[in-house]
Each structure stands twice: as C-alpha cells, then as structure tokens.
C-alpha cells in the first residue's frame, strides 16, 4: 500500500470517526457541566443505554442503525429526564461533589440494568462484514464511516444553530455563564436544565449507536469511553460546546496519529499506548491550561 494512502485509510479516517464519536459524547458532558456545574460520570453509560435502545429497534423492527437513531435519542432523553428528576434534582442544592458521586451510582445502575435485560455477551447491529468501497478511485472507506462522519457534522451544525439562533440556546448560554444572573432576568433554570438533558442525552445516544455500529455493543462500552470523552471536554474547556467538538476530534486524531510511523520504520508510539495519549493530554491540560483551549477564566 502506498504510504499516503495508508495514512488516510488506516490513521486519518479512523481518527476522524473516533473523534466524531468522542465529540458527540463530550458535547453532552460539557453542556451539563456548564448548566449544572458537575461532571456527569454516568454519561458513558447513557451512551451505552442509547446503543442498546437502538439495538432493540434493529432487533425488533429490522431497522438500519441510522433509522434506529430517533428511537435511541428519544428513549435516552426520557431516561436522562428520569434520572434528573429522581436523582439529581433532589440533590441540586447540595455541594456539586455529592452530585458527582451520585452520578457514579447512576452509572452502575444503568450498566447493571442493561446486563440484567440484555445479558453480558457482545452484540452487534449488522452481522457480517462490510467491504470498503473506493472513493475518487483511490481512497477506501466503509459506508458506515461516511454515515458517521456526515451525521456527526449535521448534528454539530444543528447544535450550533440552536445555541446561536434560538431563545432556548441563548437561555442555555446565559445559565452556563451565570446561573444567578440568568434567573434574575426571568429565565427558568428548571426548563433550561431539562432541555440540556434532552440535548446531552440525545447526542450521547448517537455517540453510543455509532460506537456500537463501528465495533460491537457491550454493557461496558460507554464506561470504557469515559476517559477519552472527559479528556475531550477538558481539552475544549468544560462548559464550552464548541471546545468539546474540537477537543473530541483532537483526542481521536491524536490517539490514531500517535502511532503513525512519522520518523519512518516503526510506529512513533506503540499502538498499545493509545489510551495513554488521551490521558496524557488530559493531565497536561489540567496542569497548564485548566480552562481548556477555549476557556476564558478560572472558575
């Protein structure tokens, strides 16, 4: 294989795909942090829940994974609203550490419920393999990667329009900047919080479905992605949705590209250390730029 082609096919495209998935997960994490001021550790398991809801759609109605997305998004939004109503809302007045710890508990509950209902085996949306197709006569890409990339861009664009062009988006940004000031101007924080859960949950569901589509569906799949997703959110600056988009792509690309043989011969970094790359970026950011690339001030 030609060196440039190998770079695109084996490093760049996978990096973009996992970057898109991280970004979708990180946006939810960061939006929730902005509005609720706590790190939602159950977010990875919310992704898993979305993936399994889509699996139900695929299994029951024979849907294409893309067509199962609305079902997964709606179901996951309901799940998030339920979690918020029963677990987080009653704790809202307590220190944010209490909420953070309780989100660990919620994560365990979601995972255990999934294992109880669906079992512990790995499952999949589409049986068999999908041969890659040639694009422009040279690059090889699998159909689902085109779907994943395009859907991720479309969703991010939709989020951008929502945040900049609608009253809800403005209210969300206002609450994120200063909850007290927002309340004084008559914004209902409860409503904003609910919509934030719907948006964050829906995007997490999409991330989960894509993750399961590209690999396999497993009860631990979301939890295992929590580290790169947190790294992406921190890289972009917690509370900054645009930062999370860039952060996700950067983490995804960095993981894949770090093992490209840049100096010729062997991989620059053994692919066994991919997870370490996300972790190293996160630690470095926390030390030198704790507000992230797009953060402005220390909170």
């Amino acid at each position: 294989m030609d060196q440039a082609l190998m770079f695109v096919n084996a490093y760049l495209i996978p990096g973009l795909v996992s970057g898109s998935i991280y970004a979708l997960g990180a946006i939810g994490l960061t939006l929730l942090f902005g509005v609720l001021r706590f790190t939602h550790f159950a977010h990875g398991d919310v992704m898993t829940a979305g993936a399994y809801l889509a699996l139900a759609g695929v299994g029951l109605f024979g849907l294409h994974p893309i067509m199962a997305l609305p079902l997964a998004m709606a179901g996951t939004s309901l799940l998030c609203l339920g979690i918020n109503h029963f677990f987080y809302a009653p704790l809202m007045k307590r220190p944010s550490l209490v909420l953070t710890i309780s989100s660990f508990g919620v994560a365990l509950m979601i995972r255990a419920a999934i294992q109880l209902i669906y079992g512990v085996e790995s499952q999949y949306y589409v049986r068999g393999i999908q041969k890659s197709r040639e694009v422009f006569g040279t690059f090889r890409i699998v159909d689902r990667h085109i779907w994943i990339g395009c859907s991720a861009v479309a969703l991010m664009l939709a989020l951008h329009l929502l945040l900049t062009r609608t009253r809800l988006g403005k209210a969300m940004r206002a609450v994120s900047d200063s909850p007290d000031l927002a309340r004084l101007t008559g914004i209902s924080t409860t409503t904003v919080i609910r919509y934030t859960w719907v948006i964050g949950g829906s995007l997490a569901a999409v991330a989960g479905v894509f993750l399961g589509w590209d690999g396999y569906v497993h009860a631990n799949m979301g939890w295992d992605q929590l580290l790169p997703i947190s790294a992406a959110a921190i890289l972009g600056g917690l509370g900054r949705p645009y930062g999370a988009m860039v952060g996700g792509l950067v983490i995804g690309m960095a993981e894949e590209l770090s093992s490209y043989p840049w100096l010729g011969g062997d991989a620059l970094l053994s692919p066994g250390y991919k997870t370490g790359v996300a972790f190293a970026i996160m630690v470095a950011m926390l030390i030198w730029r704790p507000n992230g690339l797009f953060g402005e001030k220390v909170r």
Binding site: Y11, I129, L211, H218, N220, S259, P271
Partner: protein, 408 residues
C-alpha cells in the same frame, strides 16, 4: 441471536429461586465459591463455564451432596479485571466464608486473587480457564490448581501447527494482559526456533474502537497470516472485522479465546470460510469424555462442547472431591486432599460417579478422578498436561479436528 436478546421474563424467573434461596438460609450446607468473569470481555465464554460448574454441583446434590450436606455454589463476578477479581475473592473468602473456590477465569484476575487473597488465607482455587504461563511459577503458596494446560503448551502447539502447514511468515498481535502476553511469548520463541519469521509484532490494548493503525503497521511486513491472541467478543472481534474489511490478511491463526459464538456469529461464518487456523485446549477422548457426553450432551444447563465447559465441570468435581476427602471444611485439609483424589494411583472415578466416589472415600480407598477434559494429574505447580485440537470454519460450520497431546 434473537432469542438471546430479549429475555427479561426468563431472567426474572431465574432470579426468583436465587432470592428465595437467599431469604431462606439452610441449616447445614457446604459453600463453594465460583470466581468467574460473568461480566466483561470474556462473559460469553465464562457464562457457559459457570453453567457447567453449576451442573456438576447439581449432580452432586442429587447424589447426596458433600459430607451428606447440600452444596451451594456462590458466584462472585470479577469482570475479567484484576482489581474487581481481588475484591470478589475477598468477598468469597471473608464474607461468604466458602470452603474452596472454583476459578478464577481470566488469567489477569486469577493471578492476583491467588497470590494476594486465596494464598494467604490458604483457600483452594481450581481454575477451569486460566491458561497464562505466569501461573506455573506463581507464588500462590500452593493453593492454585488448574485443569487447563499452560499456554506454554498452546503457544508451542500453534507454532508447530503453522509450520506444519508451511506457513513460515506471520504477523503477530496480542492483547495486553496476562493471557495474551503469555501466549505470545511461548508462540514467538517456538515459531522462531522452528525456522519461522515474524514480520510485524505488536501488542494491542483491549476495548479500543479502531485497530486499523495497528493492522496497517502489521500488514506492512508482508505477511499473509495474522496470529491473533485475543478474546473473540472484545478486541479480537474488532481486529478481525477491520482486517477483513480492509482486506489486509488472508488467514488468522487464533487460540482458545477466539472460539466463541460472538465472533462466529458477529462476523459470519461465510466470511471466515477457510480463513481460521485455530487451536484450543480440549478434552481427551476416552471413556470419561464419552460418559460426560452421555450425561450432558443434551443438557440445557450449558452448551455442550463449548470451550472450557468440560474443564468447568471437572474443576467443580475436583473441588468437591477434595472437600469430601478432607472430611470437613477445614481449608488446610482440603488443600492437602487435592492430589489424593485426582492423581494416580487409586481407583478411577469420572463424571457421574459421585456416589461411587463417596463410598470409596468412606471405605478408606484411594481414588483417582479422571475427568471430562482429561486425566488431570497435577504436577508440583498444580499444572496439568494438555491435549489440543485444531479448529477451523469449513462449509459454514465450526470444525474441530481430533485432539493431539502436548506438554508434560
């Protein structure tokens, strides 16, 4: 697959007797722990092994129990993870107060559980699954036995198998845990010593979403065969799928961890036709394995013939026999009884012979358990010799060839 996806009612029904059992502590019972990775990357396989252990315990209970008491098998989930495994072993030993442990399953959980928890407490562990070579010389204070052969043997078997098929150049990738690393080390040494060439050799991290970078690097060495030591419903599945999609390797040489239904169903046997060269520690064929088949060939407790189910059954039987021989649940006495009941000399007992074994022990006779998966003559390290089979996918079916003895 469909019938496996939705069974909440079945799960509830299965949980009910469990709840009843918990709410109703029996007066006298023997408690045996099962340290098993019931969730996590090896769950598909371990679920079946646990089913076989439970089948053995049920059989013992029907034949009168151990020391005249009913036996309860108490599972503790390790998630195929070292930390969770240590916690689970602690729970079994200190809270559940089990007499002995069947397990662990993943080598990465068995090693710390034996050396840090069961070893100091002097509690017997009989593993039906852990194949890592590390276990042989582990400082476990003599508590850890296993009824599967070390991967030292499987690595050598795989190397010889490939060389015998005139495959001299391979790429090698293995999952970064005790299982993958141990197997790879044994394979690498034997394959190179036998004149083979390893063009591309890399470890990979479990649970990642893409292995295309690793595969590109491995394929650049020019080998047509990829030796893939991983678990088939985790990184092994992803690697094989991505490699087939990119058309990178012609054949895959894989070990026991890949012989799982998630892989065969997920990728589809039509895509694997003639592409798999597999090895698996297997049951020796003989009167005892025939007897096991008579007893459990049509059982609904586990899938007969599934990887390591015969070993799971044997591990449970050996644990139970050791307790019976010890005459009490004294942990030290149980440990000392293991070799008495499994190693020659002695009258041979096998699957289905519980009542006979008990009467022989009561009569003061020496017994020699010869199980569904082999004779199980433990050496000084608690290891057994192995029997291996080659497996492949042919005509849309999984085909397992007759076993070949190796090791010890």
């Amino acid at each position: 697959m469909k019938n496996r996806r939705f069974h909440p009612t079945a799960m509830t029904a299965m949980a009910l007797p469990l709840i009843v059992a918990l709410a109703n502590p029996a007066a006298a019972e023997i408690r045996i722990g099962s340290l098993s990775a019931l969730t996590g990357p090896a769950a598909d396989l371990v679920k079946q092994v646990f089913g076989a252990e439970q089948a053995a315990i049920d059989e013992i209970n029907q034949a009168g129990g151990i020391l005249g008491q009913q036996v309860r098998l108490i599972p503790a989930d390790t998630a195929c993870n070292a930390q969770v495994g240590v916690d689970a072993a602690n729970k079994l030993i200190n809270i559940e107060q089990v007499a002995a442990i069947i397990g662990g399953t993943c080598s990465g959980e068995t090693i710390p559980a034996a050396s840090n928890v069961a070893g100091p407490a002097g509690v017997l562990m009989v593993s039906p699954v852990s194949t890592s070579p590390e276990i042989t010389n582990l400082n476990d204070r003599g508590v850890l036995f296993r009824v599967v052969p070390s991967d030292n043997f499987q690595g050598v078997y795989m190397a010889r198998l490939l060389l015998s098929k005139d495959i001299k150049k391979v790429a090698l990738t293995y999952v970064n845990n005790d299982y993958g690393v141990g197997l790879a080390e044994a394979f690498r040494a034997a394959f190179v010593a036998g004149g083979g060439q390893i063009a591309g050799d890399s470890v990979h991290e479990d649970k990642k979403e893409s292995y295309r970078a690793e595969l590109a690097t491995l394929a650049s060495g020019g080998a047509e065969t990829l030796v893939l030591f991983a678990i088939g419903d985790s990184s092994g599945l992803t690697i094989m799928r991505q490699s087939l999609e990119a058309g990178l390797f012609q054949r895959f040489a894989v070990a026991d961890g890949m012989k799982v239904s998630a892989l065969l169903e997920g990728i589809g046997t039509e895509n694997l036709e003639g592409r798999i060269i597999g090895s698996v520690p297997t049951a020796a064929v003989g009167p005892q394995s025939d007897r096991f088949k008579d007893l459990y060939g049509k059982t609904d407790k586990f899938t007969f013939g599934y990887t390591f189910t015969a070993q799971g059954y044997d591990a449970a039987m050996i644990t139970a026999l050791a307790i019976e021989k010890a005459g009490s649940t004294d942990r030290r006495a149980i440990l000392n009884a293991v070799r008495d009941v499994t190693n020659a000399p002695g009258e041979v007992v096998g699957p289905g012979d519980w009542a006979k074994a008990v009467s022989l022990i009561k009569a003061g006779k020496d017994i020699n358990y010869s199980g569904a998966a082999g004779d199980h003559e433990f050496d000084g390290n608690g290891d057994v010799g192995g029997v291996f089979s080659e497996w492949t996918v042919k005509g849309g079916e999984l085909v397992v060839s007759p076993p070949v003895a190796a090791g010890n």
